[in-house]
């Protein structure tokens, strides 16, 4: 909230406040605003998620508390808060209580670098993209700590599986993140949005977007990667011992993480606040960002409610044998193509502020390269699928032919 801060600063100074105090107060208001946005959205998000899930499953969903069930989440919060707060006697008290806080903080802290509009953002870090990756690693640690501190073997088993999943999918996530960073020539999220004035990065590098989308779905532990709470296998996963609001915080962190990833994808690949008339008013810019992020968020909900869960060996094989090589190939392709095009003067040296006309040759070349890699990958996947199907058929035929006894 840089712009707001300076505005408020001068206002407070005119009001006769001490300079240091005025700066501190305006910073405090900025911090409260930036962290308040995600805290308020999460209440709405839980309702949206439950409604969408209900519609997909041919139900109505929450509709009792408030108009169309809007206040259901508040009622749930009151329920969670009034529940008995149990700490297992053999648990590690400090770590047990700290884990949900760290988990929730790791998501809220991401919002500090998210540019809402060209002028409204928490802080424009020179290393914004790296900050996002670094902060996200706190979430992994929180799950590990929660699983261990509960002193319950199911919690520990769940934590092991989750951490293996999260650590593995962080690799393609970071590699996919490199594509927009390289295209923009900057790690600042503000610069990344500004660099998409000519062409959105989802068109320049669709493969990176697909990889980022899939691995962020895995990072949040949503279906088809919902090993975190594979109810049929793990009781409840790492949070089995948690009750009341501590469980609620893990829950809220997960919901918020999904939406945060939607907003991040809108910023990294869909031009953030870019859209018709965004320069007219910060509100329009903010609405564009919200609309794009919300649309991506809805697709993840759709995916979550329609695909079945994968086995852990399938998930790992998909990551290490498909996504990681693909993301490395994508980095090499993007960097080579961009450099060659810039040397040939077909692409602008600096994408920030480039017009759509300058970007046309780059777009065509990038699309061709991405299409070629994508088609090759699809061919491999198809052959794998056919092999698996043939093996399955052979096995089932052998089973049918075996004498029954």
């Amino acid at each position: 909230m840089d712009n707001l801060c300076t505005g408020l600063c001068t206002l407070l100074l005119d009001g006769g406040f001490d300079a240091g105090l005025a700066q501190f107060l305006s910073l405090l208001v900025g911090v409260l605003l930036v962290s308040g946005v995600p805290l308020i959205t999460v209440i709405l998000l839980i309702w949206v998620e439950r409604k969408v899930a209900a519609r997909i499953q041919d139900r109505i969903g929450p509709n009792r508390v408030g108009p169309i069930g809007l206040l259901q989440t508040l009622a749930d919060m009151i329920k969670l808060l009034s529940k008995e707060d149990i700490t297992p006697t053999s648990a590690d008290r400090l770590l047990y209580n700290a884990a949900p806080l760290v988990s929730f903080a790791s998501v809220v802290l991401i919002w500090a670098v998210i540019p809402f509009t060209p002028f409204h953002y928490g802080v424009d870090l020179e290393i914004g993209a790296l900050y996002f990756v670094a902060i996200a690693s706190f979430g992994t640690l929180a799950i590990m700590v929660a699983g261990w501190a509960s002193n319950n073997k199911y919690a520990l088993l769940g934590a092991f599986r989750v951490v293996a999943l999260l650590v593995s999918y962080e690799v393609p996530l970071v590699f996919a993140l490199l594509a927009p960073v390289m295209l923009a020539g900057s790690m600042s999220l503000l610069d990344i949005v500004n660099a998409q004035s000519g062409m959105w990065f989802v068109i320049l590098s669709p493969l990176a977007f697909v990889i980022f989308y899939v691995s962020s779905q895995a990072e949040t532990g949503r279906a088809p990667f919902d090993l975190i709470e594979a109810e049929s296998e793990l009781v409840a996963g790492f949070n089995i011992e948690y009750s009341g609001m501590k469980f609620g915080m893990f829950f809220a962190a997960e919901f918020l993480h999904v939406f945060t990833n939607g907003i991040l994808m809108a910023i990294l690949f869909f031009g953030g606040w870019m859209g018709p008339l965004y320069y007219e008013s910060p509100l329009i810019a903010f609405a564009w960002l919200g609309a794009k992020g919300g649309l991506i968020y809805l697709t993840t909900l759709w995916l979550r409610n329609t695909v079945p869960r994968l086995r852990i060996d399938q998930i790992m094989a998909f990551n290490w044998k498909c996504l990681v090589p693909l993301s490395i190939a994508n980095i090499v392709a993007v960097s080579l193509a961009l450099k060659v095009l810039q040397e040939l003067d077909l692409a602008p040296r600096q994408l920030i502020g480039a017009g759509i006309g300058e970007m046309l040759p780059t777009t065509v070349v990038m699309l061709l390269i991405n299409g070629a890699i994508g088609l090759y990958l699809l061919g491999i996947l198809r052959r794998r699928g056919q092999e698996a199907r043939r093996e399955f058929q052979a096995a089932s035929q052998a089973y049918a032919a075996a004498p029954a006894d």
């Binding site: 590690d92 770590l95 870090l125 020179e126 290393i127 790296l130 900050y131 990756v133 670094a134 902060i135 996200a136 690693s137 706190f138 992994t140 640690l141 590990m144 700590v145 261990w148 520990l156 951490v163 650590v167 962080e170 900057s186 790690m187």
Partner: protein
């Protein structure tokens, strides 16, 4: 020394760094030791921010909390050493005296005499950015050879670690 954001930050990060370090060497439970290590290294990342090296701070958190912490917790649980070792320390007294001597030598033997009166009080205003570091890492007048050696080292370490830790029977 006046009280401002930097000095308060320095004090907080000092508590994190030294308190965490103290926890690492004193705690009996190794899992808690790992968490203390993370607290300490988080404090070090805070120093990097105060010293205007935000890139290093982010990498520090990413490498230590995102990777090494997970590795160490896995190792702690795989070796299940928490219950087996009854004695916390060996050579407690000599180690204590030795490390105290190291501290005193570092502080009064090297830092104070060499930089005694001429310790720079304030840092220069101009400071290299992350972009400068990136350019230096791949420029031929900079660190391109160490950079490549480091990547070879990482690849070698990764393959070596997998090879060593692989279960022969599997």
């Amino acid at each position: 020394m006046e009280l401002n954001a930097v000095t308060i930050g320095f004090a907080v990060f000092t508590i994190f760094t030294l308190g965490g370090g103290f926890g690492v060497v004193t705690t009996r439970n190794l899992f808690q030791g790992t968490i203390w290590l993370m607290v300490s290294l988080f404090g070090v990342a805070g120093y990097f921010i105060l010293l205007s090296a935000p890139f290093l701070a982010a990498v520090q958190i990413l490498v230590y909390i995102g990777a090494i912490a997970i590795l160490i917790t896995f190792a702690v649980m795989l070796t299940r050493s928490v219950t087996r070792i009854k004695v916390r320390y060996i050579r407690l007294l000599p180690s204590f005296i030795g490390s105290l001597l190291v501290f005193l030598i570092l502080l009064f033997g090297i830092t104070v005499p060499i930089f005694g009166g001429q310790l720079p009080e304030a840092a220069p205003q101009t400071v290299a950015s992350t972009r400068d570091l990136g350019a230096a890492l791949v420029s031929e007048h900079g660190y391109v050879v160490p950079f490549m050696l480091a990547s070879v080292l990482l690849t070698g370490a990764m393959i070596g670690a997998i090879f060593i830790a692989r279960d022969e029977k599997a």
